[in-house]
Symmetry: D2
Subunit: 138 residues, 4 copies
């Protein structure tokens, strides 16, 4: 049971324009939810991505695996949760989305992020310093 | 009959993810089509927006009026056409979208664009110089 | 001063993926915000659009005019407000978006909606019955 | 070298509104490209998804893995290619996107699709019958 590993939860309501012609949230929209969750996490924690950027570090998504379990529909509210692990230069965001009302799992995603510096992958020590308390936890 | 005023036509195919839950292209997507058409026009004509930007000029949409006549659906191909008029600092893009197969009018749009320079509206002479042949025509 | 005419206000936070390459919210996204606001209004008021649909009535956007004043940026929160008037078969949604923090006007929009029934414009009496208290107010 | 396995190629041009605030195509947009490619493949091949749907079969994405190599930018044109394998009830779409001009690999994606029937996973024999020539090839 990994639920206790979550370090951040964001509540997001489905907007009707995110539905596709089958009346369910389009597959691509979940990547928006996941990105929005990561940015909200960063913002809440005061991690200075701006300063990272000034130092020439640009975090980029390198790989994403996403399992779709149950689709979200009009009116649904989700809980989007995450925890993080570091594997050398790679930061692994484990991101799960649940239906707030039913508790059902909507998607499970694993998002690999690296920091680019002058077009090359940075060792990641700078970013790690900013989120060390979460890496210890994981 | 204003059809002979058109100075640019772009063919665009509907992509299924642009449909909403009613199976028709979502209202907001037409603004994407219209912007895409303006950018394609600019690119084809070699108007150096990049150089405008270097000079500190930023074209922005100030006002848009759009009439929706017939919705586009899965599989449809559109012809997106435009012509331009200048009214002082304002450049008016008249943009119409037609169903390529049936000739039906899909939307009529009037898009007002101004150039910003240091946060203020520029007189527009620089942009006008780049597109003078089209302004003469209109 | 029309502020007292507003019958509904929705708070919406900008999501970073809604920004375009200039770092401001893309023009088309405001139509998403406006639609999302109308749907939230309908949902809150319990107006049974589902029952309208079962009766063969489909509300569609016929015309939209939008004035862009100040762009929204990353981290901004907006207040999206509306009021309604009826002009025969047409329902006019006056929708304004403000920056919550600064009070600045972001966009002013006027959205004309009609109800379609079997491919023709319905007189609108059914929809009017559902929102009569708001029409009286306007 | 798997290039000879490709059974379908679609050329897609980047549209500027698909860029995010860093000036590159947003991660989520690639899922749109991939879906658009699958639908275009289906349409070209005359596979009657409509008839599948009438029979109560709904193809859904169950899992997606996507590796991001090089971002697309304004003006880029991509070649989006795919081939298919079947593993029991699951249809695996191998989808790769290349920069048309440079040949660079943009993304590699593996998309697992199953057919749902009355809320349960269908064995897939009906869909397999429609695309058997491609499954033989794979």
């Amino acid at each position: 049971m990994k639920q206790d590993k979550y370090i951040f939860t964001l509540e997001i309501a489905v907007r009707d324009y995110e539905l596709d012609s089958e009346g369910i949230v389009n597959n691509a929209i979940y990547l928006h939810y996941l990105e929005h969750t990561r940015h909200a996490f960063v913002k809440q924690e005061g991690i200075p991505f701006g300063s990272l950027t000034r130092d020439g570090l640009i975090p980029v998504v390198r790989r994403m695996t996403i399992d779709y379990h149950t689709p979200l529909r009009s009116g649904d509210v989700m809980l989007s949760r995450l925890w993080i692990e570091r594997e050398g230069a790679r930061f692994i965001f484990y991101q799960d989305i649940f239906n707030k009302a039913s508790g059902e799992t909507i998607v499970n995603a694993v998002v690999t992020i690296v920091c680019m510096e002058n077009g090359r992958i940075n060792r990641g020590d700078d970013l790690a310093a900013h989120i060390s308390k979460y890496l210890d936890k994981a």
